[in-house]
Amino acid sequence: MHEMIKAKAIELLESGCVNRVLGWKAGEFFYDLTPAVFTTREEIERDFVYSVFSAANLSKYLIAESRKEGKVAAFLKPCDSYSFQQLLKEHRIWRDNVYVVGIACDGMCDMDVIRDKGVKGVTAVHQDGENLKLETLYGTATMPKSDALPERCVHCKSHKVVVFDEMLGENGEENPDSGRFDEVERIEAMTPDERFAFWRKELSRCIRCNACRNVCPACSCEKCVFDNDKSGVAQKAAASDFEENNFHIIRAFHVASRCTDCGECSRVCPQKIPLHLLNRKFIRDINELYGTYQAGADMDTKPPLMDFTKGDAEPSVVYGRGGKQ
């Protein structure tokens, strides 16, 4: 796949179809792949990397890239294509300036998951069919790829690239029975005090680096409500361990009904807070109360929060639910 994508990037660039290519290159570490723009064949041959760690969602970068001179080619995995289509729907990306190459994806690995499985000192990872071959400082090891996947890929909602100009590999299918709400249901079933304890433990680790906001393809406002130095909380250390709740509730609320559940927020979180569980709660509530909706799956439906019906549930519906008492 790596060679195929690299060859495609060079082909698109040399044929004059595009004048730059959006892809991934190695960051600080080999497993820390960073989005990058390539403009020459030499750059692509030297730096372009597509591996099991090319998890970064490239669609948000297209907001800025598509506004520049000439056409840009972008490689989009299924998750990224949902975000891309959602941004198209919101008129944030200039479609004419983007050449989308869809790539089939069977999950992106996470180095932390590999480490948690007890494999230390990994220096290189190669995919070999269903397995991963790991080169470590202490010799080689093999593990099934499914063991190295983060939660978002284990419960993958769709293997289908929803919008593309060209497809590399076989396009997959949606997966409605992914079980992605299992964890949300588990939390919902707790008592309010247990839920509070759970979230306090998670959110107390937040250092307000804003990485979740910056990476989110749905968070694309030019000016953000959190960049407010008069909020009274700016530049102040949290005085208790739940004080960043405002940020997290509003962050999730602002993308509710537009969040495609790509899981980037949790991937980039340096403190490993499961932020996608907040977004998924909104998605689950929306599905339950206003009908199943998948953001980015099509171009015509209205996001549920920009729509209403006269028979909607009253907010008091919340009092009737919510786990054990």
Binding site: R195, W199, R200, D312, E314
Partner: protein, 145 residues
């Protein structure tokens, strides 16, 4: 010295200009009483209520927040309260998910003719919040101190 320990909650009521604010006015002219610790904030329409307002109120020491608007179908701007209804439903559900007492938030539809309902709602809500006690979970000491 003996200190009076009775807890009086701070309640913020966001009232839509066209119905509930007039409803509050009517309950006043009818000499119906509702707790003095209910602070009314007038908003042009219930859908003006940004979810951030609710959280900010809690952050700065409110113990309960209630939104009052026109009855669905009666919005001055035709559809505002329908949008507000969806937003508030999702927000309250999220607060519940985080383990915040859901009784601290409420939405009530009060028309300009329902002065009695306004007073009754506020009395009931104040009683509920008094029972729950001080809001500790959403308070933010950085804002209040």
């Amino acid at each position: 010295m003996q200190v009076n320990e009775t807890f009086t909650p701070t309640i913020v009521a966001f009232c839509c200009n066209w119905c509930s604010y007039a409803g509050a006015d009517l309950s006043g002219t009818n000499r119906l009483s509702y707790p003095a610790n209910v602070k009314i904030i007038r908003i042009p329409c219930s859908c003006r209520l940004n979810p951030m307002f609710i959280l900010r109120a809690f952050q700065r020491g409110a113990d309960g927040v209630i939104l009052c608007g026109c009855h669905p179908g009666d919005c001055h701007y035709t559809t505002g309260n329908y949008y507000a209804r969806r937003r508030m439903t999702l927000l309250f559900s999220m607060l519940d998910y985080l383990g915040i007492e859901k009784e601290r938030t409420r939405v009530e539809w009060v028309s300009a003719a329902e002065g009695a309902k306004f007073a009754a709602t506020m009395n009931d809500f104040a009683a509920t919040v008094t029972k729950l006690g001080k809001n500790k979970r959403l308070e933010d000491l950085r804002c209040t101190k």
